[in-house]
Symmetry: C2
Subunit: 419 residues, 2 copies
């Protein structure tokens, strides 16, 4: 198959007349190929599909919940109570419906790959890992590419047993965990350690070493909330990122999610050792985490995290705006191209997949932008990406391809046909 969009993002700019050859879901050639049988995509600008590198799909079912504050202010921790209450309600069917709806909404917003940081493993009262199978099935049914980050979760706090509400997240031994990894039939599989709260320090490095041996990526929630950092300092005498820098044999293939309160110097060390950082602006805003200091960071990935709102365009914009607010300067990430990279190539690196760019050899995952969309139709072609990132909404997304196949996708307004 040959696609020929009106405009194609080739990494640094939009180009006209570019053809993209696709075989078996992979881009086999890109350029002025001169094919006569290309499928022309009129009034479309083609971007690499967006990549949400950090998601808890089931949490979308919380949308609108936990947002009233009769007592005044709430916190991350009171929100977590609402999330645990949701978990109580999720049996297998409701879980499937919830995560499938999330994946469908992601596709509608141009997200072609999701990194699913999956810790809700078990049926109510069980220890069956049934929900690992369900999330795999839901992604397949929805037609989204999912990197399942199977999550190790052992403690309810540092040195604490799991609370009753956390029992369904439980993984209690490394050998059992790896057996479950082996059991799963997934196209893309990685692992996660939930957090310094959820995993004993001594088990983090062994998890990482085994993941590296298997060529898998590993993710971990790091330094999102001050309370967990204080508890970590008390227990281990250092902040989580410092512990990772000291304990991990390297940080290649490791993604620290959030890094909201991280020390810039420690983050620099982590990045120098090959680590990745994932930021989730909409969720970190919703949860009142704070704005990270990203002065040392130039290539974060982005995640929709709690999925309270699903919009990678809004995530890109507010990644930059948060930094502008904090620094009182403009152009912290130096423009729209690095932000698009955060939403595409950086996510691919974080998830260990060959995607995130319209280049030979990459997975054929695309999002097509409607050049007639009101928000951008009168923006100069030379500033189209800037207009899109800073001025667009998800209604600019016209079509989506995963592995070269058009995604089964309905418009954002219910059951009406795709626009």
């Amino acid at each position: 198959m040959i696609l020929e969009p009106e405009l194609t993002w080739t990494g640094a700019r939009f180009e006209r007349g570019v053809q993209i050859a696709i075989e078996n879901g992979v881009i086999t050639d890109v350029g002025q190929l001169g094919h006569n049988d290309a499928q022309k995509l009129k009034r479309r600008a083609l971007l690499p599909g967006f990549i949400s590198a950090h998601s808890h799909a089931f949490q979308r079912a919380l949308r609108g919940k936990g947002e009233t504050f009769p007592e005044g202010a709430g916190s991350f921790w009171s929100w977590r109570e609402a999330m645990y209450a949701l978990v109580q309600q999720l049996d297998a069917d409701r879980f499937y419906d919830a995560v499938r709806a999330t994946f469908a909404e992601m596709l509608a917003a141009g997200i072609t790959t999701v990194g699913e940081f999956h810790y809700l493993h078990h049926s109510p009262g069980g220890n069956d890992h049934l929900f690992d199978e369900i999330v795999l099935r839901a992604a397949k049914d929805a037609g989204i590419r999912m990197v399942l980050l199977l999550t190790y979760y052992k403690t309810g706090g540092i040195g604490q047993p799991l609370a009753p509400a956390q029992q369904r997240f439980s993984t209690q031994s490394l050998p059992d965990f790896w057996r479950q990894v082996d059991r799963l039939d997934a196209d893309h599989l990685g692992i996660a350690a939930h957090s310094i709260r959820g995993v004993p320090l001594d088990e983090i490095a062994p998890l990482y070493d085994e993941a590296r041996k298997r060529g898998m990526v590993m993710h971990m929630h790091v330094e999102e909330q001050r309370r967990e950092i204080d508890e970590c300092r008390t227990a281990y005498g250092a902040m989580p990122l410092q512990l990772l820098n000291e304990r991990l044999s390297s940080c290649e293939g490791f993604t620290a999610v959030h890094a909201t309160h991280s020390d810039p110097e420690e983050m620099g060390r982590f990045l120098d050792r090959g680590g990745n950082v994932c930021i989730t602006p909409l969720t970190e805003g919703n949860l009142g985490d704070g704005i990270p200091d990203l002065s040392a960071l130039r290539a974060p990935s982005l995640g929709t995290d709690s999925n309270a709102r699903i919009s990678m365009i809004e995530e890109m914009r507010w990644l930059e705006y948060g930094q502008r607010w904090k620094s009182e300067t403009r152009g912290v990430f130096r423009g729209a191209a690095p932000l698009l990279q955060a939403a595409t190539a950086n996510g691919a690196r974080s998830l260990g997949i060959d995607a995130g760019a319209i280049e030979k050899g990459k997975l054929a995952d695309f999002v097509a932008i409607d050049l007639d969309a009101r928000a951008i139709r009168d923006v100069d072609e030379s500033q189209l990406l800037e207009g899109l990132v800073f001025g667009g909404g998800d209604d600019v997304v016209a079509e989506v391809w995963v592995s070269g196949r058009p995604a089964r996708r309905t418009s954002s307004s219910g059951g009406k046909p795709p626009r």
Copy 2:
């Protein structure tokens, strides 16, 4: 005319079966009226139309511009240079097209009233106030309700003459300014003093007194950028808000726009004296202004300001998220209802119009939300507003009424018929 939406926002919650009677563009009755000839709005939730209390419509033509940073960081002031360069290009026709496109995009996003803080008065090289007429015509042609805030702009900085790029903003005498106010044929007219940079301190109180005498509101940019505050301190020995508190006979009908770096105590005094504050999160994020301390403020209005992006739903969300980021707590505005009020009733108060609520006697300006929209269709009715404010995009907006008449409105994706 009688409307009967499936759900109607009656101020504190959504109610079913409510009918709204409308005559001559005004709501004459609301409740379980029992009319048989009501126009049913199936699968629609009706809200008061959104009110953007602070806009510079022409700046939308900057969308995508001024967002590249070859030298590293930019600033508000480098952005202002890009804006002045745009002004150079705007003759009468281009200005009309630019502002009309803005107003059309606002309607598509559910904005029924705009407070247009209008300072680009003159044709290139002229002193003709032609652009005042054009902005009035464009709003009328687009079908949006506009409160024209005719802006007094005399100095290029405190004690400085206007720069060449500012000549087309020029108003040089109070009597001439009021003659121009009298000359304009507008349904809703107010005034603005541009800023402490643009108006000599001694002329601000006289402007306010005359506005009050005429029953007009007055707006002013206040404490957006640290540099203007420093310059004000140097020149006048105090910050702008303190000067207003000292000099104005009252603050009723006065709106301070931004208040980004305001002292909370001074803001408390300003509010106690009847003042309003307007916040513009998307623009203040884009310009790197900083996050205001709104701990003393519970009823801000919202504005789309530079219109780099037009979305009141996103403005509502990020008004709250900015405060969550800053305070590291959740629920600073105590939920979605106060945020909706910021986007409706508080804007109406700031602009001096009887709108912003679905109540007897208010202007019949509405926005209808599509209950089948993907982002909200599975949210519980009791949490619908929260789902909308924190989870929705503008594609939830289905129809819009201004003065009881459906707005001439096309969908966000170009020339296709309304959804």
